[in-house]
């Protein structure tokens, strides 16, 4: 590990100030990804600003008294506590399921909700500093493009990068239309939609998201959910736990009888960011919730997929996973 300066922040604002004062600094929260990347020499911060002890770890109703309150997740809330929180389990079961489908129990006990969004890709070419990787070293090329790209993107990739975002939690959050609360160095609070927060690789794959250096995630806001009765997180992976998604799907249905009033579908393991399956969603709105309609929507969504040599299977697997998640959501609790 390269030598680095360690700073223990005394408050959020002191953390933001310290962060913005050093372009080579990073925030240390759970550390479950950052410290690994430092040991691998991928991340080379000059300074770590430790915020782990700051009192921002609650999960609470975001608007007490309102007819349908949402939920605010503080940035330093642990993944495990969030997944098992009664509000999340009852109102946002797909989020609870998604978090529990990720990593291992030990990692979920350490990892924070803010940090989860900032996980870096698990592309093996990104992790091995001897390999070319435009995300790690802009301009060095993409090792995965012509390489072993079984885990890689089928949507939204560019000729610079085909990496996928590794988070499960973020997939459910994308489906739920969550917003990311960010404090910037001048003390302003921003409220970013997932579309505003995450980005596709384009010409600058070194950027995982649209945060500026000095921005600090303070929380995640969940709008009131209409999907608690019909939601599901399906994750397909190479082993039953502690493996990244080949394909995952967060699905939520709002039903009136058999009619689909609203539907949310987000996918993991297919793009540089959690991928909202908008084509499928559009097709399903107003339709009957049937397996045949689910399959047709899934097929339409995956029709736009552009695979590489080793991940062609993700098209059929994606179709199956969307249909499965919707079917499970439909029958959720029954």
């Amino acid at each position: 590990m390269r030598p680095f300066k360690y700073t223990r922040a005394t408050s959020l604002s002191s953390a933001v100030k310290e962060l913005s004062g050093n372009a080579q600094s990073r925030i240390l929260a759970g550390g479950t990804n950052l410290l690994d990347l430092m040991k691998e020499d991928v991340e080379r911060p000059e300074e770590l600003i430790d915020i782990t002890h700051l009192p921002y770890s609650s999960v609470k109703s975001s608007s007490q008294g309102a007819a349908k309150p949402g939920v605010l997740l503080d940035a330093l809330g642990k993944n495990a506590e969030t997944a098992n929180h009664p509000l999340i389990r009852s109102q946002y079961p797909m989020l609870s399921q998604a978090i529990l489908a990720g990593a291992s129990a030990q990692i979920r006990n350490m990892a924070t909700n803010g940090g989860n969004l900032l996980q870096r890709t698990r592309c093996p070419y990104f992790y091995d500093v001897a390999m070319p990787c435009n995300k790690r070293t802009p301009g060095s090329g993409c090792g995965a493009m012509e390489g072993f790209n079984r885990m890689h993107a089928v949507f939204g990739w560019s000729d610079k990068c085909i990496a996928v975002h590794p988070s499960d939690m973020a997939v459910a959050l994308a489906a739920l239309d969550a917003k990311v609360l960010v404090q910037n160095p001048s003390g302003q609070q921003k409220r970013l939609t997932f579309d505003e927060f995450f980005r596709l690789p384009g010409d600058a794959p070194e950027k995982d998201n649209n945060l500026q250096h000095g921005d600090l995630i303070t929380g995640i806001e969940l709008p009131a959910s209409n999907f608690a009765d019909h939601s599901y997180y399906a994750k397909v992976r190479d082993r039953s736990s502690y493996a990244f998604a080949l394909v995952s799907v967060a699905a939520g249905l709002q039903l009136n009888g058999k009619e689909i009033i609203d539907v949310r579908i987000a996918m993991g393991g297919v793009a540089h960011k959690p991928w909202r399956a908008l084509t499928a969603e559009k097709m399903l709105k107003g339709k009957e919730a049937t397996e045949a309609n689910f399959k047709a929507a899934a097929k339409a969504e995956m029709a736009a997929a552009k695979p590489h040599e080793y991940n062609k299977f993700k098209i059929e697997l994606g179709e199956r996973a969307i249909a499965l998640a919707l079917t499970k959501a439909l029958n959720y609790g029954s």
């Binding site: 698990r122 093996p124 001897a130 493996a243 299977f313 996973a321 499965l324």
Partner: protein, 705 residues
């Protein structure tokens, strides 16, 4: 022998408390004073020549003591017995990840940091051989001997039913929980190496020869081993390089491999392409068996996994051709990996047998029973003992085989397709020369024994089975027996490799017990109607101390018999019919392996092998990017060992077997056989569940949708 022997009973590990309380010291746990830390740096190309090493910045980095490369390393004997080359003897690069230097610093982190500041230039070599799929057609006959009898192709041509298929298994890595790690300490000419070693004396000789020093000047200390699976049998360059670093730093040096470095430092199980041919009568009598393995080896050395070994012994078949082709590649030297050849070879053979049974519309167990050989079909020798039939029959009963639906894809349980499969396995039972010293003391009537030999306990129970053997042999309770192993200063012993450990060690300890008892009887000058125990004699003769040494060799006529452990494996899989994910819900291994000294540790060892077999079947694969020859799967995030959720209920049954020919104690060894047949049983169960025959491991979800 005691009336109620402790051997054959399920005893807890005598070293268990030390392990779970952290008191068992592994190689780098020793509190050596003034310790410095080494970090290996490695080539990032697969072939070529180092043209420049710029270590100016590294030399100035904090804490750096010395930097060693081929430019300043001492001359070592590359044929000294360490595997895989990479001894810093020149600028030539033979595989990606070859060690090219060591940084020694005050701390591990400083050494690693400095190593990353070093810039290495290579001359390009476009000829690097890294793409096995492309190179396989150029493979040439390997040194591994061929078996040929009759004419397979003629028999195939005339047979009622045939199977002619290719099965493929990927590179796998051993990945013991304890990575390879060494502390090297020089005191004058004397070198002490704390180094986990499956063959203690082998590590000593290989280190000494490589370093060009006398073996008596090298001491290996290896009382506990955190797993090895073959990768700590033959030792690798890091052992000698630790000693070189300690010499050049003039300090004791700690040299440990990182998990990532384990992928290209200590061997691998190679990628095999196996072409199986089976021919049978319509009644299910085998007529021919062809088993050709095509594989790869190091660019400058040959090791071929003997994938045809089970095909040599499992079934009676008049026409057989078992042979090997190999192609050298710029990839680290392959090596013995748990159940070498038998685990991967049985996957191919037993899948083909299952395909044959399906074509014959015959029960797969009945097909196997139909082809049970009276003697070794390859050597013609009688079996020392063989209870494969009992394994199959007892296993079928215990597993509930009769409830299996022989038609694939018909057993649907909710989201799952359920299937059942069977596969057999075998592993040779061999004994190696091994010595043991027994030292008895008598402290006011309390007789205690210390048993000494340079044996190795991989964590599987060697301490415990030797304490049981000595307790019975001397007439003492286990608590009064102390086992000292894992030190090359002790009497020379075989290694814990190739399932020879328990057999060789236990026979030497048992012989030493007999010898010391006889010597004590002679010393007493008395006549005995009933043979007394050594413990009784120490008391009756009022002796304070007595010791003896025994050098045991295999039985003189052992070679006249074909001796193997055999097993039958039964798997129940649940395949998610939407996602293709596989769960092994139940697995039963029925093993006939001669005398089982400790049924508890034996069971653990078998189910441990089963777990790796599950990994082989459904999760584990190391992938090389042929453009650079590097491993793309280079951590446990990418190289998937099975997790608890992948592994359902495991059960192990041992068939009683009284083998009078394999060795005096009738112990056959169980270290390897536990993984043999596992992948085949699971692949066959997956076929029964889904109707899909997957001939390429691991069987990941993408192969089942």
């Amino acid at each position: 022998m005691e009336a109620n022997p402790i051997t054959g009973t399920p005893l807890n590990r005598i070293d268990g408390l030390l392990k779970v309380t952290g008191k068992a010291a592994y190689a780098t746990d020793y509190p050596v004073k003034n310790l410095a830390y080494g970090y290996l740096f490695k080539s990032t190309v697969a072939s070529g020549t180092i043209t420049q090493i710029d270590d100016a910045a590294a030399k100035k980095a904090p804490g750096v003591i010395t930097i060693i490369t081929h430019l300043n390393a001492p001359k070592l004997n590359v044929k000294g017995g360490l595997r895989g080359g990479a001894l810093l003897q020149g600028p030539e690069i033979k595989f990606n990840g070859q060690h090219i230097g060591i940084v020694v610093a005050e701390t591990f982190e400083q050494a690693r940091y400095a190593a990353r500041l070093i810039k290495v230039q290579y001359s390009n070599d476009a000829q690097a051989k890294t793409d096995f799929e492309k190179l396989a057609p150029q493979a040439v006959p390997a040194k591994e001997p061929e078996v040929r009898r009759g004419d397979v192709d003629s028999a195939m041509a005339g047979a009622a039913v045939t199977v002619d298929q290719v099965y493929e298994t990927p590179i796998e890595h051993h990945h013991p929980m304890e990575p390879h790690a060494t502390i090297a300490l020089w005191e004058g000419d004397k070198l002490t190496l704390y180094n986990s070693s499956q063959i203690v004396n082998g590590a000593q000789t290989a280190a000494a020869k490589t370093l060009n020093i006398a073996p008596e000047n090298v001491r290996i200390i290896s009382p506990y081993i955190g797993g090895g699976f073959g990768s700590k049998g033959g030792q690798w360059a890091n052992l000698a390089l630790a000693a070189v670093a300690a010499k050049m730093a003039n300090r004791p040096v700690h040299l440990a491999l990182s998990r990532q470095q384990m992928f290209n430092s200590v061997g691998l199980r190679q990628h095999n392409i196996q072409h199986l041919k089976l021919a049978a009568t319509k009644e299910g009598k085998l007529l021919a068996l062809g088993h050709q393995t095509t594989t790869h080896t190091a660019i400058d050395d040959e090791y071929t996994e003997p994938c045809g070994d089970c095909s040599k012994v499992l079934y009676a078949v008049p026409n057989a051709l078992i042979n090997y082709k190999v192609v050298p590649m710029n990839v680290i030297m392959p090596t013995y990996t748990r159940g070498p050849g038998k685990s991967t070879g049985s996957f191919a053979l037993e899948s083909a047998m299952d395909e044959l049974a399906f074509k014959l519309q015959m029960d797969p167990i009945a097909l196997r029973l139909n082809n049970e050989p009276a003697q070794d079909p390859t050597t013609g020798k009688p079996w020392s003992s063989r209870k494969l039939v009992e394994c199959l029959k007892e296993g079928a009963k215990a597993f509930g085989w009769d409830k299996r639906n022989p038609q694939p894809g018909k057993n649907i349980q909710g989201d799952y397709l359920v299937g059942h499969g069977v596969a057999c396995g075998s592993y040779p039972a061999r004994q190696r020369d091994s010595s043991a010293v027994i030292k008895l003391t008598n402290d006011n009537g309390k007789v205690q024994a210390v048993v000494e030999l340079a044996a190795a306990d991989l964590g599987t129970g060697t301490y415990t089975i030797l304490a049981q053997t000595a307790a019975d042999g001397l007439g003492l309770p286990v608590a009064q027996v102390r086992i000292k192993i894992g030190d090359s200063d002790l009497p020379p012993a075989a290694g814990s490799v190739g399932s020879v450990g328990a057999t060789s060690y236990a026979n030497s300890v048992n012989d030493a017990c007999s010898k010391i008892t006889t010597e004590l009887m002679m010393k007493s000058g008395k006549q005995f109607f009933v043979r007394p125990t050594a413990a009784q004699l120490m008391t009756s003769e009022r002796l304070n101390t007595f010791e003896t040494r025994m050098d045991t060799k295999p039985l003189a006529d052992a070679d006249n018999y074909s001796a193997h452990s055999f097993n039958a494996n039964f798997a129940e899989v649940w395949v998610n019919r939407f996602t293709g994910m596989v769960k092994v819900k139940r697995f039963l291994a029925v093993t006939a392996a001669g005398k089982i000294i400790n049924p508890k540790t034996a069971r653990s060892q078998i189910i441990g092998g089963n777990v790796w077999g599950i990994g082989m079947a459904i999760t584990e694969e190391s992938v090389i990017d042929p453009r650079w020859g590097n491993f793309i799967t280079r951590s446990f995030a990418d190289y998937h060992v099975p997790v608890n959720l992948d592994v359902g209920n495991l059960d192990a049954i041992f068939i009683n077997e009284d083998d009078k020919h394999a060795n005096k104690l009738g112990v056959k060894g169980i270290g390897e056989v536990g993984i043999v047949g596992v992948a085949g049983a699971i692949a066959n169960a997956i076929f029964n569940a889904t109707g899909k025959r997957v001939r390429e491991l691991p069987i990941t979800p993408d192969k089942l949708i």
